[in-house]
């Protein structure tokens, strides 16, 4: 999420694992008596667990590799994980997991419908609100200052007394948990299936980078805002004008990126520079 300048590239894996966590929860627990709607929460917890593990792994790598090497390592993890899932026939292998039927069996058709539409959208907004809250909290605390230092110059940060390992791990975990939450509800729960080829493709990395650019690279709130704009408009365009969404979407994205080269949040940030609002938008 641009917090340390590293996290952008790991974001895809976080979202993918979030989608997988939700799918696994529903697929493997839907027949357990008495769980009912709780399988969604189990799925959510699995999403958070998987993302935490991968966030720790990527933080570990980020402590050793910088810049382009780190980006390549992340794409490597992404591809590696995908081939591992397909090759080892883990979690449905290349067939993926289709769980919309399981969800209906567990909670009934009507509840399942509400879950995948209203509640999933609401959850995305709650996650965005949570991200905004964390943003404000971080920026007001030493964490925000430490992350700025790490992002700008790690060696300088270290000799200033910043424990770069600790703050990078915080950044990756925060980003991983938020990314997985979005993946779990907006990709997993909402679609009702997950295919490794879908969630791990490079195209998806590109989509994530678009999201980051749209919101504003290097800002904490940027990717969340970008993700919201991108995710929701893609989704609603698909409903209003099915089949044409990508056709309309491409020029819209180009226009936004041309108009706001620093992203929506970056643009706002410049506008409020020097005012009290500024620190909420790092």
């Amino acid at each position: 999420m641009g917090m340390t300048g590293y996290v952008d590239f790991g974001y895809v894996t976080f979202i993918a694992l979030g989608a997988y966590g939700m799918s696994l929860g529903i697929t493997y627990f839907y027949q357990v008596e008495g769980l009912g709607i709780w399988i969604v929460f189990i799925g959510f917890l699995l999403a958070l667990l998987l993302a935490s593990l991968s966030a720790l792994l990527e933080a570990f790598i980020a402590l050793r590799l910088r810049g382009a090497y780190f980006a390549i390592a992340c794409i490597g993890i992404n591809e590696g994980l995908r081939h591992f899932i397909e090759g080892a026939k883990l979690w449905g292998g290349s067939e993926g997991l289709i769980f919309s039927g399981s969800l209906i069996q567990a909670v009934g058709r009507e509840t399942a419908n509400q879950l995948t539409t209203f509640w999933a959208d609401l959850a995305v907004f709650i996650i965005a609100a949570l991200a905004a809250f964390l943003n404000i909290h971080y920026m007001r605390s030493k964490i925000g200052y430490a992350l700025t230092a790490v992002k700008e110059d790690e060696d300088a940060a270290k000799v200033m007394g910043v424990n770069t390992t600790k703050y990078k791990t915080i950044a990756f975990l925060t980003s991983g948990l938020l990314g997985a939450s979005v993946g779990a509800v907006a990709w997993g729960l909402k679609l009702g299936y997950v295919f490794p080829g879908d969630v791990f493709v490079i195209h998806y990395t590109v989509e994530c980078i678009v999201v980051v650019l749209l919101g504003g690279a290097g800002t904490l709130l940027g990717p969340v805002v970008g993700g919201l704009i991108y995710g929701l408009s893609k989704y609603w365009l698909a409903i209003i004008w099915p089949g044409f969404q990508l056709l309309i979407f491409a020029p819209i994205i180009i226009i936004i990126i041309v108009l706001f080269p620093e992203g929506v949040v970056g643009m706002l940030k410049n506008r409020v520079r020097g005012t009290a609002l500024e620190r909420y938008l790092l």
Binding site: K142, Y145, A146, A149, E152, D155, K158, V159, G161, V162
Partner: protein, 257 residues
């Protein structure tokens, strides 16, 4: 008790002896200058002291504590501050935020919160004369101003020892005079020891420090009172053999004065 003691410190890069068996002692509140031609190993020595690199041999002792293998981020809270050869302020943060980061993670560490750090930053911004630039992004400043940001940032850490790499590189005579004056003021006012590394500008050295250490090919080969060192034939040899015409001239001016 000495503040900093280096015991037979050696740092190699592959086959290259960048720092060769250096021993050095520094008292609290002392201001010394380190000079030496390009590639002498001065920056590497600073990196070993501040923990950017660990030495292959020898010990770094700070206030009687062996810090040879202590990570850099844990040395800062003990009272070790430094600036870099090429100033490296955090460019996307304001001058005030840069300096506040020093306060937040320096020797005061957990005892100071964000607001207090920002207030403290103002004091050091005033000290180095950066008031007009307080709210500017550090990345947009001139090199000399960036150097001042680094000094203020290091001072806000409330260090016991300040290492200044290339304190005056690339400065005009007016800036050099200002810097010499500033360092002496800092030493008096903040009661901290300073090791100022000055590559070629011998003119500044005489006015700055009572003690000079000359490094050459990784070793400290002369260490003593400024006047003695500047007239030492071996030092003149190194500088006359050195690449810079200007350094020869500076040295000669110093000798005759």
């Amino acid at each position: 008790m000495s503040l900093l003691r280096l015991e037979n410190v050696t740092k190699r890069f592959g086959g290259l002896l960048a720092v060769n068996n250096v021993s050095l002692e520094l008292a609290s509140g002392e201001l010394i200058a380190i000079v030496g031609p390009n590639g002498a190993g001065k920056t590497t020595l600073f990196n070993v002291i501040s923990g950017v690199f660990f030495p292959e041999e020898g010990k770094v002792i700070f206030e009687d504590r062996d810090i040879t293998r202590l990570p850099a981020y844990r040395r800062a809270p003990l009272g070790l501050g430094r600036t870099f050869q090429i100033p490296r302020p955090f460019g996307s943060a304001t001058v005030r935020e840069n300096v506040a980061i020093g306060a937040m993670f320096g020797t005061l560490g957990s005892r100071i919160n964000v607001d207090e750090s920002l207030e403290m930053a103002d004091r050091y911004i005033d000290l180095v004369g950066l008031q007009p630039h307080r709210e500017k992004l550090a990345g947009n400043l001139t090199p000399v101003e960036k150097k001042m940001v680094e000094i203020a940032r290091a001072l806000a850490m409330k260090p016991k020892l300040l290492l200044m790499d290339e304190a005056m590189a690339g400065m005009n005579p007016k800036d050099i005079d200002y810097m010499v004056d500033l360092l002496i003021r800092i030493k008096e006012k903040e009661k901290i020891a300073i090791v100022a590394m000055v590559e070629h500008i011998m003119r500044a050295v005489a006015g700055l420090a009572k003690r000079v250490v000359v490094m050459h090919q990784g070793a400290t080969f002369v260490d003593g009172p400024t006047a003695d060192v500047l007239s030492d034939p071996r030092v003149i040899e190194v500088y006359l053999g050195g690449p810079s015409e200007k350094s020869k001239k500076d040295l000669v001016t110093n000798q005759t004065s």
